[in-house]
């Protein structure tokens, strides 16, 4: 088994996802996450990024969605038919978008719920120390109800909560959403550190493409449920379409005209 995986921890083979048995949201998406690496998943609103994450973590089934074709392999084992609980037992944890803390529990209680599947006294304490080491801001907030702390601290709580579970793969859904630029920088530095020091592979969904391409060495681009491009971040940054559509960059001094708009539309159509 181990040899077959070739250092790839997660592999999506041409998956197709349907909601309510009629709405086709993903059409043939293939993604690979290498052991210990960071991979970014980019795309506009409604492209299917969150759906991709949910199909990996199994949460899809709770929204009446289903992987109807293709397969998802985690460490050489097919997991797309397993329940969310079974998948988290194998070590995949999704951090769902929107900073979903348990608002009526304290920060520390939030973290302890994260250790739900790994619940033994001394080990939990050790993990808590580890989380507080990476997120020192949370130490002084530990006994405050998580609903009352700031957005950045909530994002830290949510990431720390997933860390409590000793993840073998973390799926991060838009950690930068609605946060101040400085905080985003801080959080992304911690994420990078987590990846380097704890060797946790990450699959990162991000709207902030510039940021995502600096953190992740490899990225996939989704558009309306289809994979349209995947390459190393260096190459993607140079790609004229990515520069135009996602980074908002075009060659300086060039005059914009209606032709450019038409060009955009044409390119867009070509992409999808």
């Amino acid at each position: 088994m181990e040899q077959k995986t070739n250092g790839v921890i997660l592999k999506l083979n041409n998956i197709e996802v349907m909601y309510h048995e009629v709405i086709l949201v993903l059409k043939g998406v293939s993604i690979e996450v290498p052991q210990g690496g960071i991979v970014a998943l980019l795309g506009a609103n409604g492209a299917g990024k969150s759906t991709t994450l949910k199909s990996i973590s199994g949460l899809l089934k709770h929204e009446d969605g289903e992987v109807t074709d293709g397969s998802i392999e985690f460490m050489g084992e097919k997991i797309h038919h397993l329940s969310a609980e079974e998948i988290s037992k194998r070590g995949i944890f999704q951090i769902i978008e929107g900073r979903r803390v348990f608002g009526h529990l304290t920060v520390e209680e939030n973290l302890r719920v994260g250790a739900h599947l790994r619940g033994t006294g001394s080990a939990t304490k050790e993990r808590l120390e580890m989380v507080y080491h990476y997120f020192p801001r949370l130490v002084e907030r530990r006994n405050i109800m998580a609903g009352f702390i700031s957005g950045g601290e909530q994002q830290m709580t949510v990431i720390g909560r997933a860390m409590m579970a000793r993840p073998k793969l973390m799926l991060l859904d838009e950690p930068s959403m609605g946060l101040a630029p400085l905080l985003i920088k801080e959080i992304f530095e911690i994420i990078k550190k987590l990846n380097q020091e704890e060797k946790i592979p990450l699959l990162l969904v991000e709207q902030n493409v510039k940021l995502a391409l600096t953190v992740a060495p490899y990225a996939y681009v989704l558009e309306t449920g289809r994979l349209v491009m995947h390459d190393t971040s260096e190459k993607l940054k140079e790609n004229p379409d990515i520069r135009d559509f996602y980074l908002g960059l075009s060659d300086i001094g060039e005059k914009k005209s209606f032709r450019h708009v038409k060009h955009y539309k044409r390119r867009k159509r070509w992409l999808t």
Partner: protein, 294 residues
Amino acid sequence: MEIFLQLLITGILVGSIYALVALGWTLIYKCSGVLNLAMGELTLIGAYVCLTFYHWGIPFVLALFFTLVIGFILGILTEIIFLRPMVGEPHLAVIMVTVGLAFFFKGLVMLIWGTDTVVFSPPVFPIQPVFLGKVVVGQVFLWAFVASIILLVAFVSFFKFTKWGLSMQATADDEMAALSLGVNAKVVYALAWAIAFMAAGVGGTLLGNINGLNISVGYLGLLVLPAVVLGGLNSIPGAIVGGLVIGILQNLADGYLSRFTPGGVKEVFPFAVMVIVLLFKPYGLWGWVRIERV
């Protein structure tokens, strides 16, 4: 003044039983969103089970313990058989299932134990009253209070300090996020019903010790509603305070108002309070503000 104190203290003692049952009710609502109208029947079953054990000659404390165990098992079975198939169905349908459960359980009790009033014999608690200063209290009330408080403390520490307790609260807060951490929602629902059954059973047993036991003990299940509305439907401390307040109000109404009426003030008063609370604080004292459409 003495009369007031007398009424107040009796109210608190009885209110502690309501608090216990209200906690069970709130737990189900909080964790699974099910508005349980069968709570009174859960108390009935617990009370009769305990009485049966007691009449077999098992010491009361042990009988109460067995009642807890049976309550736990019945709670899980009820959830699996009746409520689990309804997950994701409209609220109203689920509420109707609990109404059906209420009739089912009531019928079951009448079938097995009949409809006559039965008492714990020999009486579990000594009949001589206790004097707390100038206030006279029956020992039954005092022990019922002690038992309720012990159980309340046990349940609250379960929520605060154990893994599954925390996970239950987490599920109540945000089910999707709890799922993403590997919490099994089915186990959480089943546990909520198990705890509700246990709390209700003990509440029913204690009340049965005070007044004797017949079908009307199930009325307690309705009294829980004003208590939880007062406290806020999904607040555990709210349910406990609500239960105590309803107990006190009921006794005060009985003491001061019943002579102006042909009777029944005691039964009506908590519901009048509930309506007033709903008018001014629709989310209760500690309830979470969120919009529910049933």
